[in-house]
């Protein structure tokens, strides 16, 4: 959890994020995102959240990105979109301005937040981030949220089926 791996990995993460945004081909974009997720999973490991790291890989990389790939492949909407060139000038300008503003804001906020978190990581029990502890917190303090998440997933499932189902007219 030292600075070197952190910087290395953040460079990887940021690079692949930029690749995703700037990539003309959607599938390649998806793969870049997968790599980004892997990098973030490693970050989670560095931050002592093994369970979440593995879940991240399983859920994000394993399920969500597969969904993306599925849709990309099913619809085969390859290359409709040109690169950044033909976008309306104004849209890019706005996006750029807002992006810079956001960055500036984060730049300002980061040191403030630092005060919050403190330079040193807090002393933490050995099995911090282990499934046992996560499970305990999840089902003791946030059971209601868990149930609600369950409902959201149920609703999403039904929604997806209804929306995408080919109308057998």
């Amino acid at each position: 959890m030292t600075l070197l791996p952190f910087i290395a990995l953040s460079v990887v993460a940021i690079a692949f994020a930029l690749l995703l945004v700037l990539n003309r081909n959607a599938v390649h974009g998806a793969l870049c995102l997968v790599v980004n997720f892997a990098a973030v999973a490693v970050f989670f490991l560095m931050l002592g959240a093994e369970f979440i790291a593995v879940v991240q890989v399983a859920v994000y990389a394993g399920a969500i990105m597969v969904l993306f790939l599925f849709v990309l492949m099913l619809l085969n909407i390859q290359g409709q979109e040109g690169g950044l060139e033909q976008k309306p000038r104004s849209q890019i300008l706005i996006a750029a301005v807002l992006g810079i503003l956001l960055l500036a804001e984060i730049g300002v906020l980061a040191p403030l937040a630092a005060g919050l978190g403190g330079a040193q990581a807090a002393a933490v029990p050995a099995d911090f981030g282990s499934p046992r502890l996560v499970g305990l917190t999840l089902f003791r303090d946030h059971l209601l949220a868990f149930e609600i998440a369950a409902f959201i997933l149920l609703a999403a499932m039904m929604g997806a089926v209804v929306l995408a189902k080919r109308r057998l007219a």
Partner: protein, 105 residues
């Protein structure tokens, strides 16, 4: 800065901030809704990162549990989003965001 010095919390905020803004800008720039969805996932992930970092630096498990919920929501969102895109593609044979302004006032 010694290479093996511990990583301050501020840098985690910076990192997730950068990732978030890349996602946001990406969302604004691209016209292909799938890319936009990916950018959203990226933003959500940046959020998760910050959650975990904060959990680690404050020693509170709740952070990680929240990430769990964020993932649930993200999954749900992608499922529905992609279903919509499939539906739109099937009707209009194009999924360019700018054409899809049927719902205007």
């Amino acid at each position: 800065m010694a290479w093996n010095a511990p990583v301050p919390f501020a840098s985690w905020v910076m990192l997730s901030g950068v990732l978030f803004s890349i996602g946001a800008v990406g969302f604004l720039i691209r016209k292909d809704p799938i890319i936009m969805f990916m950018c959203i996932e990226l933003m959500l992930n940046a959020g998760n990162l910050l959650f975990i970092a904060a959990a680690r630096y404050l020693g509170i498990m709740a952070g990680q549990v929240f990430v769990f919920f964020v993932m649930a929501v993200a999954a749900a969102e992608v499922a529905v989003g992609l279903a919509i895109i499939v539906a739109i593609f099937r009707t209009k044979s194009t999924i360019d965001v700018d054409e899809m302004s049927g719902m205007r006032g």
